[in-house]
Structures are given as structure tokens and as C-alpha cells.
């Protein structure tokens, strides 16, 4: 029986102004439903192991978490080898309500971007205000990095976790490397 692999087999790059590494495989379940409903929230919390986040928020504890994705969608994070069990539970706990839970763990590629200059590297690629105080841990943004859709949050003050579609993993990795090229410090944010 073979092991699951990530798109780039956990490639990494450390020669630039921030460190880049492909992480995973990670467990991710898309849950769509009536978010304000208590029954839906109960099911989500049981699957995610954390509380429900607010709009554009994310709550995590280790590999577990829940991220707000849209007014009727959250993303459940968990260890990869727990996905099928949690998905089955979720389908059971939401059986009596109109909801959809699907496994999307393998549809994504996930990258960590780490370092004092990580905010600057992100600011080269996404039209988001990354100044300290404007974007920080606990927030999730779904937007684009250059030409691809991407979602990201911060796991700590100097680390971004970036999620994109699996098919463009190589593009995302190359993009982050270029944005982190040596000598490209911007000096825009107080580090």
C-alpha cells in the first residue's frame, strides 16, 4: 500500500528573503450548510475540534481547526489520516439537515512562508494590506496570489500558511521563490 504524496513531495527553498516549504498532506473537509444554525455548528465543532470562527476568521489547534470560507461554507482542518473517519461522522451528524461535506484534502497544495520578511513577500503577490496590525493570526483571506486563487492565514506573527489548487502547486512554489529572491527586501513594514 503506497503513501499519499503532496504535489511537490514537500519541496522547500531557503535561499531567499523568506523560507518556503510545501507542507502536508493535510486533512481538509469542505462543509456547506446553514452556518448560523446550532445543529450545523455542533456538527462542525465536533469535526473541527475548535469553536466556530467569525467572518473571515480561522481558529486552529495544531493540525485541527475551522476556517470561515463564505456565508454558507467552512473548511474543517484535521490530520490527513483522520479525514475519512471525520467525513463519515460529519455526514452522519448532518444527515437530517441540508448540508454538504466533501473531502478536498487532495485537491489542494499547502505552503508555509516563514520569516521576518514573509509579510513583504506576500504583499508582492496579493492585493491585501499585510502591515502588522492590519493582517495577523486569526484572520483568513481568500483572494489571489498573482494569477491563481489562494487562501491564506498566519500560524504565527511571521508565518503564512498558503492554500492553492493542487494543479498549480509548481506555479505557486516558483512564484513564492521569485517573490522571495535574494536582494528583494522592500523595507515597507517595520520588522
Amino acid at each position: 500500500m503506497s503513501e499519499p504524496v503532496t504535489a511537490l513531495k514537500n519541496a522547500s527553498y531557503a535561499a531567499g528573503i523568506a523560507e518556503i516549504s510545501e507542507v502536508g498532506p493535510m486533512g481538509m473537509i469542505t462543509l456547506r450548510g446553514d452556518l448560523p444554525a446550532k445543529t450545523l455548528q455542533k456538527a462542525a465543532i465536533a469535526a473541527g475540534g475548535v469553536n466556530m470562527p467569525d467572518q473571515r476568521g480561522i481558529l486552529t489547534e495544531g493540525a485541527r481547526g475551522i476556517a470561515w470560507m463564505s456565508p454558507d461554507e467552512v473548511l474543517i482542518l484535521c490530520p490527513y489520516d483522520e479525514v475519512h473517519a471525520r467525513l463519515a461522522d460529519l455526514q452522519e451528524t448532518t444527515a437530517k439537515q441540508h448540508a454538504l461535506a466533501v473531502n478536498v484534502s487532495d485537491a489542494r497544495a499547502v505552503f508555509d512562508l516563514r520569516g521576518a520578511r514573509a509579510r513583504e513577500v506576500m504583499a508582492k503577490l496579493a492585493p491585501v494590506d499585510f502591515a502588522p496590525g492590519q493582517f495577523g493570526p486569526g484572520m483568513i483571506r481568500r483572494t489571489r496570489l498573482a494569477q491563481v486563487p489562494a487562501a491564506f492565514w498566519m500560524t504565527d506573527e511571521t508565518t503564512f500558511r498558503i492554500v492553492c489548487f493542487r494543479s498549480v502547486a509548481q506555479y505557486m512554489f516558483d512564484l513564492l521563490k521569485i517573490a522571495a529572491q535574494p536582494g528583494s527586501e522592500v523595507g515597507a513594514f517595520q520588522v
Binding site: 469542505t30 456547506r32 466533501v102 484534502s105 504583499a123 494590506d129 512564484l175 521569485i178
Partner: protein
Amino acid sequence: MSTRLATGGRLLNKSAAVNFTFNGKTMRGYAGDTLASALLANDQMLVGRSFKYHRPRGIVAAGPEEPNALVNLGDEAKFEPNQRVTTTELFEGLTATSQNHWPSLEFDVGAINKHLSRFLPAGFYYKMFMYPRAFWKHVYEPIIRQSAGLGKAPKTADADTYEHFYAFCDVLVIGGGVAGLEAALSAGRAGARVILIEQTADWGGRTPVDGGIIDDADAQSFVDRALTELSKMDNVILRTRTMGAGVYDHGYVLGYERLTDHQPDAAGPRHRLWRIRAGHIITATGAIERPLSFAGNDIPGVMLAAAVRDYIVNFGVSVGDRTVVVTNNDDAYLTAIALKHAGLDVPAILDARVLPQDSELMAQAKALGIRVMMGHAVSSVKGGKRVTGVAVCSQAGEGAVLEEIACDAVAMSGGWSPVVHLWSHCGGKLVWDDVNACFNPDPNRPPTGADGQGFVTAAGAASGMFQLDDVLCDAHAAADGVARSLGFKTPKGATAPKGARREEAPMMPVWLMPQGASTKLREKAWLDYQNDVKVSDVRLAAQEGFVSVEHAKRYTTLGMATDQGKLSNINGLATLAGALNAPIPSVGTTTFRPPYHPISMAAIGGEARGAVFQPIRRTPMHDWHDENGAEWEPVGHWRRPYAYKRPNETTHDAVMREVTNTRSNLGLLDASTLGKIIVKGPDAGKFLDMMYTNMMSTLKPGKCRYGLMCSENGFLIDDGVVARIDEDTWLCHTTTGGAERIHGHMEEWLQTEWWDWNVYVANVTEQYAQVAVVGPNARKCLDKLGGMDLSKNALGFMEWADGTLGGFKVRVYRISFSGELSYEIAVDASYGRAFWDALMVAGNDLGVMPYGTECLHILRAEKGFIMIGDETDGTIIPQDLGLNWAISKKKEDFLGKRAQERSHMTDPKRWKLVGLETTDGATLPDGAYAVGEGTNDNGQRNVIGRVTSSYHSPTLDKGIAMGLVLNGPDRMGDTLSFPGTDGKTYEARIVDAVFYDKEGEKQNV
């Protein structure tokens, strides 16, 4: 001659000498020089030739408004044409060559054009290159192409990298002179997030050169103190070498930062495009001096007066031993005074005005012993490649020469024009200032944002303030007002710094010198130096009826060169106004468009080149395909193997081999790219019944159905197999190109039309890798992996099942696009490559070969299956393709139903799908038309059909095709003629579109 002075050079580091070459000659400058100041220091005034007449051109200005001094800079991978010497910082090893001349700068054959100038006035090409028409392609075009352009085109790929940067602030201040610095201080002290950008490498602007006094100290100390305070503020970002290139809606501004142009060997990107979103923008962009229009004002050595003193003070460079100053205002006197203080000679100041008493500056000049001639003007300049003297006349007259003064430079000033470009980009309006003869931003009509409020404020000279105390007060007040409007509190008691006021006599507008200059003189009075537009040309435009300023601009090309009219705009439109006898405000300005100064194309592209030019999409098996001879085909951003070429095989050979092998043994196709969309909910069945022409709600769990999707206009937009997963869940397959499109289509209808239906949709296309296992040995291969019962009865045609194969968790669909025994198998994408590898091993003894998209196309064409994008083109409905069986008659409604009832859709004359078989076995050209009787009104042959798909079939050893033909299904056996583009006409019979295995026996196993 121009030379380096012993004194001066505020911006230089004289301990660091720098070597560079110009036209192959080695020259020396200092760190801090621009290429312009270094060239002048080496007595290189002549720098190029003008575009049309190839007249000698010299440096005119000291800043980005320079129209003449464009050079080819660098070589090989760093080569760039049209670089402005005034904005190019000198660096060790710089190489530059002048442009637009042959054989050399000094002796240019193109200068013969000047003798033809009577035949080459403005707009000559509208008349000259019209006839004879036969000359257009082979005579006129080559000539025009040869003479067009200034610099040389680069021949090597750019070695540098570029990037973007998204920045956000409350107040963006553009311009780092004293107005910009004061505005940034005010806004920063109020707590706003401020970004201050300055296009040159140095702060302070004009004031340190012009000798202003601020708070009883010299201007430089104000600048130093301001920078110290600003650098300490956490809420302020300062950038030099960053130009405000354009102002766009919603406070969006492009800043163009040049990081390594002055240090080409440094690491990192060369240019950075700042994409700034600002709450409010303050344009402290200063003002640009205007030339005067007198005969010979383009001869090298004639320069803007302020530029002359910029070179003395900033770079310690003298542009000439003897400089005549000609002016209509007091400001140019600063140049005469600076020249005298540097120990240089000023034979005369020609002041077009007659003043009742000496102004302060006039008195100062006279006290230095300078001869001031009031009411006088330049009649013409003497010299060819360099000024040798001026002929003096009365400004009031028509140019009769009173005396000649020998000199080697002329410092001219026609007044100052506020830089209003950024104010105007988003619709800010201008108001004519009669006192200073210039257009100022109209503060009552600023560019407005979504809330109807102005989002740009001009400050300092950019808003028409020319006195230092006014500049500082204006900047302070502007920033305070902006900060308050954004909700910030300005600190109590903070006042504007005090600028010392200098009383100046009023300027006098002079649009032609002398005011009654004869035709001969007007033909040599230049407005646009780069495009060679003279006063006489603008008058000609008016005469010919091009009275709108926009028309006059295009007719004469005034202001259309790389400097975009920075020195010529106002003089040009004033000349037009004079020719039309209209007031200047009624003529108005032409439209200002970004960028303010040229920015590199590469900066706009940013990082998007090479590997990241576009986001290429790869399946989990991509690397395997690459290592096994895949010839890649783009399908949207995906890359799919077209065929797998073996050594010494042509693509055609590979495709033929793949087709034969798949029908004989076993083929594997990577089908991961096809869309997979989950549709779930109590109303999912109802929803899918609307989305598809077929009945999907009746599909039973465990079963699959091929479905067609139409737009509400009735046209076929996608097809695919739908699987019923459970009671309220369906999985819809789409074409590769349709995945995101159909997902969006579904969401749009659910969100905007049927928002009360309980349906959720999820795009899981990339969650699964999917492999088609196809051919007589397909089942044997899967049985070798083991884990599921895939016998004929256990999993019938158009059924699916979950299970494991070879230890992999799979979903198996028994569907076929080839007519062979065929299984499409989905695994979680993280196992996709391992699963593919396992299939290749299991199929090793079964004749397994991978096959690509072209083989896929041929297999389905042999079976008469349609392909979205081949048989459909956006105008085709299912009924055209004989797919009436897929259109449910039981459904009351579905997308496209009503549209398909329209008369055009039910017209029996619509072409219908048939098979086409050439009489000689050749392959019909794709897209070929079948011709009928007679011709249409355009004299073209009438057409009665066209080829939609065409291939050579190795299975049948002949060409096969599908096409749409008028009355096709009723004309079985008829022969049609298809003219090819190769001169050959193809004869083909109308046949059944199913060429192979009509009974479907091969998959019924």
C-alpha cells in the same frame, strides 16, 4: 563650451570618480552625476537627432521633462533604447550611444530632410503617402518603417527581474520637494498612514537650488530636519527613485520604483511597481518651465533657464562660458545670478517685458554688472550643431536685428506650468490663471471617488503657488484638510513653516518671440523638439480646419513623443488659440493619460515571465508523462499529453500506434482534468433536471447517464456523464475546459434565480486523479490489481461502484468514450501517481500503452460520438447533432427548452450531423466547406456543409470525418465536394457517423 566647474556640485561625491563611455568615447564623471551632467562636464552637448528632420539635438532640461537626450543604454541582456540622460544616474562602466542618425551623430545623412522641410510640414504623410496605391506595400511602408523610431530594438532577452508590491495608506504624497515633505509631516503627525514618494534620488526639489529661506535657515536644513522626523515615524514610508505614474479610480495609484538602474550589478529586482490604494492623494508634483518660441530655439546650447542653474548648483557644471538669458519673468534672473556667482559670463538678459521699475531680482542682477535689456527678444540663434550667438530684436516688432551677441548658451524661460497630470488622470479639471499664464488644478472640480468626494488634492507649485511662503502654507493646509477629512485629528498649534517671500514683478505671456515674427522666423521656432513641430505647423493645422486641440495635436504630432509634450503642450495650445483668435481657456488642454513618464513594460508584467508567465496546471501524473515522451497539448491552462512519442517516431506514428493498441490490447488515459462537480440537496434532482436536457432526477443510485447542457439560449455548452451517488447526491462530469465554467454556471443559477432551492454544489475536480483503463484487456488488468468484482454482471455498462483495487481506495465508473470495454477510475489525487504506476505494472503483460488526447479523439470519432468544441461552436443545438434522444420530452422546462422552440431553431434548413467518407481514403481537411450550386451576392460559392472533425483512422485504414450538412441525414450516399486550401478538391460521401462497431459489441463484454 560646457565644462566641470571647480566649485558647486551639491549632489556629487567628488571623491568617487566614475568612468563611462558615450559613442565609444571614454569619459569621466562623479558619483551623484546624472548621465546628462556628466556629458555636459565632458563638453558633450550634442546628444541626438530629432525624429523627422534629423536636426542636431542638445540637452535642454535637467529633469524627466527632457525631450532630446535619449540614448541607447547598455548592451546585450541589459540593453535598453530611449533612456533619458537626465534621469539616468551615472554608474561605473555605463555605456551609451546616441540615436536616430547615420552614419554618425556629427554627420547624419538624415539631416537632408531639413532641406525638404517645405515639403515635409505637419501632416505631410496624410497627403504624401496616399498615391499611387500600388506604392503602399513595397515603397512607402518600407521607407516609413526604416525611418520610424528613435532607439534600436533590443535583440537579447532581458536579464533583469521585476516585481509588484501592494501597499495601503491613508495619505499618499507624490513629490518630495518642500511641499511634499511638509504635507507628509502634517499628515504623519496627525497619525495617518503616509507614503511619500519622490521620483529622483534626492529630497528637497527646486528650493535648495533656488536658494529659499525657511524658518530663517537655508532650505536644505528644513529638508534635513523633515527627513529626520519623517524617518522616525512608524506610520510613514519614504521612497526615493519612485515616480507616481498614474492615478486611477478608488484611490489606486501606480508608483514606479527604480531599484538597480543606478547600480546594475546589485542583487534583486530592477524595477518594482507599487500598486497603492490610498484614502487620499496629495500631488506635490511641482512645476515645469516652458521654453520660449523664437527662431533657432532648438540649437544645442539653448536650454531651460532653471536647468542651467540646476547644472551649476547640483552638479558643478557650466553649460557655457557665455550665456545669454532670455525671459518673460523674474525667475530666470536666478540663473543669471547663479552664473555670475560661479564666475561665468552673462553678456545680457533679454527681458521681453518693459517694467516701470526694477524688480528685486532685476536690481540684484544689475548690481552684479549684468546688462539687462528690457523689451528685447531673440530674433534668431546663430549656430548649427552649437550656439555661437544670438541676434537681438525688439519683442514688440517683427524681428529686425538690432545687434548680435556672441555666446555659447542661451538660458530661456517662458514661465512655469504646474504639473497637473496626476490631478487630471481621473477627471480633475483645470482653470486658467491669467496672472501666471498657466493652467492650475481647479480645487472646486477635483477627481471624485465613489462617494462623490474629491480624492486628490494638489499642493505647492503643482497647485499654482510659486512663492515659497505660499507653497509651504498651501502644503500644510492641504495635508491638514485631507487628514481631517479622513477622520484624523491634527495636532493643536502646529503651523506651517515660514518661507521668505521674494517680491517678483508680474510675468508677461509671450507665445511668440518676437510677437510679430515673420513666416521665415516662425518656421524655425520650435514647439516640440522631439517630433519637430514648429509654430508654423500649429498655425497650418488651424488653417486646415483642425481647430480642436485634440485634432491639432494628432495632425501635427505635437506632444505625441516620448516626453508627451511636457515642454510643448502649453506653448502649442497657446499658439493654436492665437491662430484661432480664441482665449486660451477655451482651447483647453489635451487629455492627460498615465503613465506620467515612461515606465518599463517589464515592470507592468512584474514576475509574470518564464516559468510563471501563466499558471500551468499539472495532473498528479504529469511527471510520468513528461518522462515517457509526452508531446504536450494546452487545454486551457492544463497540459495534457497529445501523444506519447517513442524514439524515432513521428507524432502521427505515435497516434496511430496508440489507437491500434487501445483497440487491440490495453490503453491508459489520464482523465484527471475532466470536471467533477458534486450536487447535493433535497432539490438537487429538480435542479439537475433544469441544468440538463435529460431527466437526471430519475437516475438511480449506482447508475450513470450521459447528459447535455444547454445555455438558456438553447445552445449546447457542455456534456458529460452524471452519476447518482445516493438519494440526494449526484456527481456531474464536465469537459476539461468546462469544469470551472459549469461550476460557475450552476452557482449563478442557484444564487440569482433559484436561491430558495436547497442545493449545494462543490467543485471536486482536483480532489481525484482519474484514469481511463480501456481495451479488450481492461478487465484483466484490473483483476490483476484485485479487490473488486468487475465482472460483466457485477458492474454493468453505465454503472459505478466504490471499492479497492490493488489496495487503492477507488470509485470505478464503467463508461466508455471509445466504444471499447472501458473503466474510468477515480482515486484521491495524492495516490494518483502511485495508482498509475500500479496500472502500468499490472498491464505490462497485457500490452499496456498510455494514450493521449489525439488517440482519444480518433477513438470517439470512429464511434460517432460528438466532442464539445468540435461538433459544437456555440451556435449548435442538440437537435443539429441527432441527439434528440437525450432531450427529455417529459420535462416541463429545462435551460434551453424554450429557446429551442424558436423558429430559427426548428428550421429544417439547419445543417445536421452526418459522417463523411472520402472516395479515395484521404483525410478531409478540418473545417473544410462543402460547396453547392451557384454563388451568393458576394460572388462566393454557396456552401451546404462543413467538416467538424476529421482524422485518419488506423482501425479502418482510411480517412473518417463528421460534419454538418444541409439535409444531411436525408442524403445518405450522396457525394459532396470539399475544396481544400491546397488546391485539391476532396470528394466525400455522406455516411453514418458511426464508422466502427455499430452494434456496440466491443464494450458489451
